[in-house]
């Protein structure tokens, strides 16, 4: 009987040697004359244990990790033998870090073979679409609205309401555009879905298409994600062969197909109108709104543009119902959030949990503090446009409104941890610099203000007319905040001002000790 071994093909595992390990395991099994079947699954999200291998046993899947090339022989011994190994973590599903999560969007990620439609279907796949087809477009939009699902791309706009606008705008052609540009540092959930459970995104987009009357979808994936592009493209091909993309989906009257497009290294193309410009073949320059993309979007047609996670959450909302999904969360943040723990963190990875968990629980308990073992000093939540929070804010619950109340944002739920060697003036400078590099150039406050911001911070740090330049910086931030067309220029002040407000000592407020070498 052949033994089934899971070796993630997720980029985080591959970056830590998973491909070489898969080859070595195959070679060793062959030499031993043992029959094995290797499945390149997605990642379960316990990235500090990657490459995390699993073997199917009668008791469940047993996990080993982090496996290196030199562990291959002994791990294979254990997998084919009594299971004893220093890298064994027992039954994967029982690992507390995994067991304590509420996996709704990520229910299948790391479990199924991402390229197998059969595997997807055998694990609740296409139940959501079947339900949507049964109840029809109007009720589907209603269900998504009632679930309280808000856009996971950053702005948190209610998904159902967006869909309703597109559904009620008539046109000969409408589009579903999936925003897979995931440019925020500290985020990788979209990537993990595309690499670990691509069919859930295909199903979510198909439900969206059916609900609003769109027959064509585009997925705009950033070029920095070659693995996601490959897996997702393969899944679309398998979907076409398997009758879940194309004409008469699941035997219904609905048609829907998806085309994958590759970005070209511009952060601003994650902004929805810039992304549409890019898809149309132009410079990724932000468009003024109105008109909303929902009314005049891609090629001037009504367009739903949603983040990967928003769309990938729709199938479970449809399958289990709005009430079920809405039952999780707090306040106006309903359901779960796939939170990404990154940077200088001991246990980094993906942790999906209901809204309401505090930042401190996430960083200290779940993440285990820093990887360097030094104290946590600052945490940036929400990517390069997100605020830096000090430890004093660790009681902030993960909730759109609670973060906003503290001049921060959840964004795409990336949490980047810094230890006490961080220089916050440098981080503020980087925020301005990044804005200058990535500005689309349309508005002066963003394009010019960010460059001025870099120079001003340099002067502050050099103690060159510090008091006056601190004022200049604050003014500059206000101009950017209120005079920018999109959130690149408009939100860059968040990391800058939060660094200045919470860590003034790094800007020379008190004499600074020379930094010790690392």
């Amino acid at each position: 009987m052949s033994t089934k071994i899971y070796i993630p093909g997720d980029a985080a595992a591959v970056a830590c040697g998973a491909d070489e390990i898969a080859q070595a395991i195959a070679a060793s099994a062959k030499k031993r004359g043992k029959e094995i079947q290797i499945v390149r699954n997605g990642s379960r999200g316990l990235h500090w244990l990657e490459p995390m291998l699993e073997v199917a046993t009668p008791k469940g899947r047993v996990a080993y990790g982090p496996v290196t090339l030199s562990d291959v022989e002994s791990v294979l011994d254990a997998m084919l033998g009594d299971g004893k190994h220093k890298l064994s973590h027992g039954i994967a599903d029982e690992i507390p870090w995994l067991k304590n999560q509420t996996r709704l969007t990520f229910a299948r990620c790391g479990i199924v073979d991402p390229r197998s439609l059969d595997d997807y279907k055998a694990n609740h796949g296409y139940k959501g679409l079947a339900k949507a087809i049964a109840i029809g477009p109007e009720k589907t939009v209603e269900e998504v609205t009632n679930s309280g699902l808000r856009g996971r791309g950053g702005a948190g706009f209610p998904t159902g309401i967006k869909w309703k606008t597109v559904a009620s705008t008539s046109a000969d052609q409408k589009y579903i555009v999936c925003n897979a540009d995931e440019g925020d540092s500290g985020t990788f959930a979209d990537r993990m879905i595309m690499e670990g459970d691509p069919f859930v995104l295909i199903e979510g987009m198909t439900i969206a298409g059916m609900a609003v009357g769109a027959t064509k979808g585009y997925v705009y994936i950033r070029s920095e994600y070659p693995h996601a592009i490959a897996t997702f493209t393969d899944a679309c091909e398998a979907g076409r062969k398997g009758g879940v993309l194309g004409k008469n989906i699941l035997g219904s009257n609905y048609d829907f197909d998806i085309e994958v497009r590759t970005g070209a290294g511009a952060y601003v193309c994650g902004e929805e109108t810039s992304l549409l410009e890019s898809l149309e073949g132009r410079r990724g320059q932000v468009r003024a709104k109105p008109p909303l993309p929902a009314i005049k979007g891609l090629f001037g047609k009504p367009t739903v543009i949603n983040n990967v996670l928003s769309l990938a959450t729709v199938p479970i909302v449809m399958e289990k119902g709005a009430e079920f999904y809405k039952g999780f969360g707090m306040g106006r943040s309903r359901g779960t959030m796939p939170i990404q723990l990154a940077g200088n963190i001991k246990r980094g990875g993906l942790y999906e949990v209901a809204f309401g968990i505090t930042l401190g629980e996430l960083v200290d308990e779940i993440g285990g503090g820093t990887a360097s073992g030094r104290p946590v000093r600052a945490v940036q939540v929400g990517g390069p446009l997100g605020a830096y929070f000090p430890r004093a804010f660790f009681d902030t619950p993960f909730d759109y409104e609670a973060f906003a109340a503290r001049d921060g944002l959840i964004g795409h739920a990336g949490v980047v941890v810094f230890d006490d060697t961080v220089d916050m003036a440098k981080q503020a400078r980087f925020a301005m610099e990044f804005c200058a590099i990535e500005s689309c150039g349309k508005c002066t406050p963003c394009r010019i203000g960010s460059t001025r911001g870099v120079e001003t911070i340099d002067r502050i740090v050099a103690n060159n007319d510090r008091a006056k330049n601190l004022e200049v910086l604050e003014d500059l931030c206000n101009t950017m905040k209120f005079g920018s067309l999109c959130a690149l220029g408009g939100f860059t002040p968040y990391p800058v001002m939060s660094a200045l407000t919470h860590f003034p000592e790094d800007f020379g407020a008190t004499p600074k000790l020379p930094q010790a070498a690392e």
Partner: protein, 157 residues
């Protein structure tokens, strides 16, 4: 073995024709051209403009907007270091400085012998196994001094 084709006008025309019927074809064309030749040779711009019946200025504008597209061939190997926040938090600045020193170039430059182009990239989605890098399209995480040194010697080969 060379990864890229030498410049050929008929081949460029063939690549462009492949995408001509697609909606918003400019980016797919530019990507395909660059994947074939290693950069976007100048004559390609008017070719795309002609096929899509748009102005050269518009194609040129698109081409220059995106960080990915190259005006000229890169070095034999392309080493990209992630310079975004999560990698900074995990010690990426120090490793980047080390790489610059070993390669003898600043990030954004190519070594004098044309062997290595060393470039910044802003997040590879490997922020939980930071710091990270990409060498000729292959990804690497959990970089430390030793791994950086071995990446550099590989790139120099």
């Amino acid at each position: 073995m060379d990864k890229f084709e030498p410049w050929s006008e008929p081949l460029a025309r063939e690549i462009i024709a492949r995408h001509a019927a697609r909606e918003g074809a400019v980016l797919p064309m530019l990507h395909d051209v660059q994947n074939t030749f290693g950069y976007v040779p100048e004559p390609v711009i008017p070719m795309i403009a002609e096929v899509l019946n748009i102005s050269r200025a518009e194609v040129h504008g698109t081409f220059t907007f995106y960080h990915d597209f190259r005006h000229e061939p890169a070095g034999k190997h392309v080493l990209k270091f992630c310079r975004a926040e999560a990698c900074q938090a995990a010690g990426g600045d120090h490793l980047c400085a080390r790489a610059e020193q070993k390669l003898g170039v600043k990030i954004g430059e190519t070594t004098a012998d044309d062997r290595v182009t060393f470039e910044p990239i802003y997040c590879l989605g490997l922020c939980s196994v930071a710091p990270s890098a990409m060498l000729d399209g292959k990804i690497y995480g959990r970089l430390d001094e030793k791994r950086v040194d071995s990446l550099i010697s590989e790139a120099r080969r």
